[in-house]
């Protein structure tokens, strides 16, 4: 699987420190994400996983450190990064429909004063097809289930046609169909050489879905290919003592 990866670095994070008021959330984090990998960001609640993603996107003020996307600062490479927020972050009773939300992914490249037209509509429909939501294109967004909401957000990110995708807990509370759709999608993105960073919760599926992991708990515990880094020792360091279940999890994967 590693042969797809080029030597190029998609995301380079150096000495990243983020604090909310007096409280440091991320402390001196160094990570370098190779191009074309599926990376899971793991850690307990409050470990700074969401903050890590948001600081890459310049959505939270960074106290120190530097972040580069394909060698350039995020501000100058914004169009190459797509973001899939937690679906709870918006009001789903907003008066709009699915296709309209997906078309929003084109607003960045449309520029000022231009309205989305036939071309944008077609791109949005294509993205909806990729997440198996074509039938819902004209559905009011308040009528969607959690999994469908998640797929709408994924389609909006796909429409951006970025190089790097940052996803905040896309598997959180979704149904089995959606989970399968997302996994397929992640694989397709990797085949196309895209880099995907996913905040993830379910340790059971890490080895199956991802090829790199970043273990966070305020600071970086470990980062690298799953086979090297996803070890009992590292997980214990990340999650503390509450990992009695981990040893069984890890023995399962022994070849």
């Amino acid at each position: 699987m590693n042969d797809i990866h080029s030597d190029e670095t998609a995301i380079e994070v150096r000495d990243l420190t983020v604090a909310y008021g007096q409280q440091p959330v991320l402390w001196d984090v160094d990570v370098s994400v190779p191009k074309g990998v599926l990376l899971a960001v793991l850690g307990p609640n409050g470990a700074g996983k969401t903050t890590f993603i948001k600081s890459i996107l310049d959505l939270v003020p960074v106290a120190g450190g530097s972040i580069r996307i394909h060698g350039r600062p995020y501000r100058r490479n914004r169009s190459r990064v797509a973001y899939v927020p937690q679906r709870g972050s918006v009001d789903w009773d907003f008066p709009t429909h699915v296709l309209d939300v997906v078309e929003m992914g084109t607003y960045g490249r449309l520029g000022w004063f231009r309205r989305p037209g036939a071309a944008e509509r077609e791109q949005a429909l294509k993205a909806l097809a990729q997440v198996e939501m074509t039938a819902y294109a004209h559905r009011q967004i308040s009528q969607l289930s959690g999994g469908q909401q998640q797929r709408v957000f994924l389609a909006r990110a796909l429409v951006q046609d970025a190089e790097v995708y940052l996803m905040d807990e896309p598997f959180q509370g979704v149904d089995a169909t959606t989970e399968r759709t997302i996994v397929e999608l992640l694989k397709r993105l990797r085949e196309r050489g895209k880099t995907v960073v996913v905040v993830h919760h379910d340790l059971q599926t890490v080895q199956e879905y991802f090829d790199h992991v970043l273990l966070l708990n305020g600071r970086r515990i470990a980062a690298g290919p799953v086979a090297e880094v996803f070890t009992e020792e590292n997980l214990r360091a990340t999650y503390g003592g509450r990992v009695a279940f981990l040893s069984s999890l890890l023995t399962q994967r022994a070849p």
């Binding site: 914004r78 972050s89 939300v101 607003y107």
Partner: protein, 374 residues
Amino acid sequence: MMDAISTLFSDYTVRTVALGATLLGITAGALGCFAMLRRQSLLGDAISHAALPGIAIAFLITGSKSPLVLVLGAGLAGWFGTFLITGLTRRTRITHDTALAMLLSVFFGFGLMLLTFIQRRPDANQAGLDSFLFGQAAALMQRDIQVMFGIGCVVLFLMTLFWKEFKLISFDAEAAHTLGLPVRALDHLLTALFVSAIVIGLQTVGVVLMSAMIIAPAAAARQWTDRLWVMMGLAAFFGAVSGVGGVLSSGLVPHLPTGPAIVLFISAIVVFSLLFAPNRGLAFRMMRQWRSGQEFRVDAVLVDMYRLASQHETVDHPHSEQVLNAMSGNARRTLHLLETLGLAQRIDDEHWALTESGTERARGLVEKRWGEGP
């Protein structure tokens, strides 16, 4: 009544005033949709109250009651108010609602103080400034309408121009940022439009009730549609209708201030929309709930009868009401409903049986829900 209205409309002043109210209703109503969707409903109230000292200060400095001067004063004070609210929320531990409430009362109190001070001066020119409290449409003059028209058009034009950007920052500001939009600048622009829409209404509606012109049309319009642009159109329409209605009734009824009259009109529209709008309306939802409850009870009794009958040779075997009561609670009313629907028939005082179509329906239900035959 109709005569009085047609006389009013033939009157030049009244036509001017009605035009002003229409403009105001359209601008405030349309912009109010963004305010409501961004959960900034109370901001309008804070801005309009904060504008009062601005009006007083503008008059004190220039000695002029020219609408442009007063609107400018109101606008600057309103904008300064929102600036303080954002600053307080961002830099201190004061929450947004506390900052709003504080600012609203402090600015309004200060404005009242200045108004009192102005009225005590031996200066005849000050008369009429207090109409900014509750609005006095009769005092509107052609030059006021010109200012309202000018500002209203600019506001609506900018809103159409930045339509997709405003929609995106209202729905998902973080996504807007990652898509490369200057969210902070757009936010400031929208607030500025918001302030403009409010200050042009102050003379007509008054600082105390202006926020109703922003929020009420949007709240009513939201009930009727799930599309943003339809919602805006409806809100503008509701705003215009109540603006004209309020202005006319304040012209017909002596001593009725315009602000409260307009607010009564728009409140009636809101109440009607909350109750009777399809899908979201209260009446509609109660009806739907009652119907699905009724349907559920009908089906439950049908299935019970069917299952009882399936223990006998014939499906139309009669059952006593007592047994059915024990199975699905008070079955009597539902049985009568079944009879009306032609799904069950009464055999004697105590006994009921399924009709042919009732059997048919019950079989369908059982197969669908439990996947079994009799």
